[in-house]
């Protein structure tokens, strides 16, 4: 029987009553989880956030919020919450499972395996973790298999949806056709951090586009928030220099983000010009795809 069927409205009513009677109790944890399982994500998030204001250092509370955020498709914030949970409790099975799954979705199989194995060690009976470990090991043993493999059972419904919609078939190779770095060095992603076009490799040639895209959604939100709260007006770009590369980030449309990465011998000013051309291409492609 599916879990959501097993959680009755009466159960939720009882848990809600218990929490109302004693707002400082930990009953917010089963209540938030019950609401999440029934798909009442907004209510679940409110319960989790209220619990976190009372118990900010409770790893279980961060794990709960992460699962809710994952179900809502906000994988970046889900990652952050699981990361906090692990800082508070390095052996937290749920957080290892969640982060392991997100790494899998991002194509970072060795990291995924490490976290899933930690989750299994912490809770050998955890639902689906043993099977997930087996599946990731299998994917690791087959070069290039990670792209083709279906994701292991995930801790959040949203993450599974994301995994299904970000397969190679959904990522366009044609967005930046004709531009320098069209397949490696230019990324187009949506506001949720899902790669929709282009590609990126690390210096050793490993494809890292999906992993980087997942992190950039947070940069997008932080840049927007910083510009707004500091009365700087709408943000137009974020440039970053590292010792081995220069990066340029901008938003071709309000719902998309473009990253351009070049060797650090290419000055930021030139990156800005290249990003402008790439943004035009992205807008054309997005209009055509709409």
């Amino acid at each position: 029987m599916p879990w959501e069927d097993a959680v009755s409205i009466e159960d939720i009513r009882v848990l809600t009553g218990q929490l109302a009677a004693d707002p400082s109790s930990l009953v917010f944890l089963p209540l938030g989880e019950a609401l999440r399982r029934r798909g009442q994500l907004e209510a679940a998030e409110k319960v989790a956030l209220a619990g976190l204001t009372r118990y900010p250092e409770l790893a279980d509370a961060h794990d709960l919020l992460a699962r809710i955020l994952g179900d809502r498709g906000d994988l970046e914030r889900a990652f952050d919450e699981w990361d906090i949970a692990l800082r508070l409790d390095g052996g937290h099975a749920g957080a290892h499972k969640g982060i392991g799954f997100l790494y899998y979705v991002a194509g970072e199989l060795p990291k995924a395996l490490g976290h899933l194995e930690s989750a299994l060690a912490a809770d050998p009976g955890a639902e689906g973790v043993a099977a997930a470990v087996a599946r990731v090991r299998e994917a690791l043993a087959m070069p290039g298999a990670s792209d083709a493999a279906s994701p292991p059972p995930g801790p959040v419904a949203g993450a599974q949806t994301a995994a299904e919609t970000t397969g190679p078939a959904e990522v366009s190779r044609a967005v930046f056709e004709g531009l320098e770095g069209a397949q490696d060095g230019l990324l187009l992603l949506d506001a949720q951090g899902l790669r929709v076009g282009g590609g990126l490799s690390s210096p050793d040639g490993t494809p890292v586009g999906d992993a980087v895209a997942a992190h950039l959604a947070g940069v997008f939100r932080d840049a927007e928030r910083a510009a707004r709260l500091l009365s700087l007006g709408p943000w137009s770009s974020v440039a970053a220099e590292t010792s081995d590369a220069n990066l340029f980030l901008c938003a071709p449309t309000p719902e998309s983000l473009l990253l351009l990465v070049r060797d650090n011998s290419v000055p930021i000013g030139r990156l800005a010009l290249q990003a402008e051309r790439a943004s035009e291409a992205a807008r054309r492609w997005l209009e055509g795809a709409a």
Partner: protein, 116 residues
């Protein structure tokens, strides 16, 4: 020591178009020292700058690259620049839109190297 830091920050705020400069604890997002931040919420700058830099550092790590040595958020009515210093410190400047970015970057780097 604090006077030295503020004096170092003044070398940044002397650049035309710089509204204010500050040193931030990157991990906590808190102000360590600031200069000429009139009309600007220093605490908000510290938290937001630390957040943007931390997020970018995660992205560059995922890309197999080193952490950012300079970050520039450009917006319609101004900008935010940050250079990581020693340890946990970030040197940050809030600027007008019309500013010599190269000059501010130089000053930020100089202060980042000087301030331990």
């Amino acid at each position: 020591m604090k006077a030295d830091i503020v004096s170092a920050l003044e070398s940044i705020t002397r650049v035309r178009g710089v509204r204010g400069a500050m040193i931030v604890s990157a991990e906590e997002g808190l102000v360590v020292a600031e200069s000429s931040m009139e009309g600007i919420d220093g605490a908000a700058v510290a938290a937001l700058a630390a957040g943007v830099v931390a997020r970018l550092a995660r992205a560059t790590e995922a890309a197999g690259r080193t952490a950012p040595a300079f970050v520039h958020l450009r917006a319609g009515a101004g900008g935010l620049m940050a250079v990581p210093g020693r340890g946990d410190l970030l040197v940050v400047a809030v600027t007008d839109p019309e500013v010599n970015v190269g000059l501010v970057r130089l000053e930020l780097r100089r202060v980042a190297e000087d301030v331990a």
